[in-house]
Symmetry: C2
Subunit: 222 residues, 2 copies
């Protein structure tokens, strides 16, 4: 199809499609003339993925570029691809530039937790720094969960994470063998980004309910 049809079918303006082509988010179409190219269903699917990541996932274009490179690189293992997607997402946190005993203690606590749980987590995983930074700040405000609390969080999340990874595989299987990898990758990307939104949304609602129960009159406001 021509770019005009790709635009019509995807609902994405031509100028935006050109921007994605320039940024390397969308692969070029097959050239049919000096200024024309032919686009197919893979372009349509890729556009849908990009729009979902931007609009629903809030993922910046630079991160999407990294994610899609991993998706398209068939030499990368499934595990590494999932890692690239996850490591590309915010929020990120940089450790302090100078030595900070609170940070050191929090890092040691994170390492102890991972080791106690027997989890396989790369030592450069951004989530380690994210967790350590949150613990440092929570401690400074006397609002930190106890060690047991942290472990309870981890243990509640582990089966959910395993389900997510399993559901990503099921989605790929449903898509049929011929497009296995592309479908697996798409479902994986959307799953990793959006299951996190599901978790955040449900946690916020659970918190609102807990606050209503604890601080509001029994009749409550709704």
């Amino acid at each position: 199809m021509l770019m005009s049809e790709l635009s019509r079918r995807s609902g994405v303006p031509v100028a935006t499609i050109k921007y994605y082509l320039r940024e390397g988010l969308l692969p070029s179409g097959a050239p049919t003339a000096a200024t024309r190219a032919d686009y197919d269903e893979t372009h349509l699917r890729r556009l849908r993925l990009i729009r979902t990541l931007i609009e629903t996932g809030g993922v910046p274009v630079a991160a999407i570029r990294r994610i899609l490179s991993a998706v398209d690189d068939t030499s990368v293992s499934q595990h590494e691809m999932l890692g690239t997607v996850q490591y590309s997402l915010g929020p990120r946190l940089a450790p302090p530039e100078s030595a900070d005993p609170d940070w050191g203690a929090a890092r040691a606590e994170v390492e102890g937790l991972i080791s106690d749980l027997g989890w396989t987590v790369n030592e450069n995983a951004p989530a380690r720094t994210l967790l350590a930074g949150a613990l440092v700040a929570l401690r400074r405000f006397d609002a930190a969960p106890l060690d047991a609390g942290l472990r309870a969080y981890a243990e509640a999340l582990a089966p959910l994470a395993a389900e997510e990874v399993a559901s990503i595989e099921v989605a790929a299987a449903n898509a049929g063998a011929s497009e296995d990898r592309a479908a697996l990758s798409e479902a994986a990307v959307v799953g990793i980004v959006l299951f996190e939104r599901v978790l955040i949304a449900l946690r916020r609602m659970a918190q609102e309910d807990a606050s209503a129960r604890r601080f509001n009159q029994p009749a409550g406001r709704r």
Copy 2:
């Protein structure tokens, strides 16, 4: 103390302190001369809170302004204050402008879930839209959790959220009666923002571990 000392003790540059004063994030000091004001421990504490929200929480200044107004407004109930904090945080999602059957179905599913769980959640809570939007996108990519899965998430999160709300109250009690509300509010703000980071970080590590178990060779890479 003078602004120079406030800057030295907080580690926040004078220009930044002046910006927070202009933006209404930091209350004015007590004027001691035409161009001088006296700052105290409450200013120091407030600066620490602002820096934590920006640096560790990634909260934009406009959201911090809304949050701090609720913290300082003693006519607002504890439950409403927590709600203002939570509702000020991203990520947010706007529903589509035109009618969309997928959105309608997702909204109905969210309402059904909240009702089944017996949760008290304001009907304008942004988390409802955030969850519905994530479900719409997940469905489009065949990556959505089953209904039972969504409920499993909610049920895993509910006791954690109740613990968080309880720990916020405990932190306030430890701070002593005289500064109850200010301490409760500070701990609440930091807790609401940063427990979410804890959850995201632990979930990402759990996911990395689940992916390693499922997709990697038994020996694994670490």
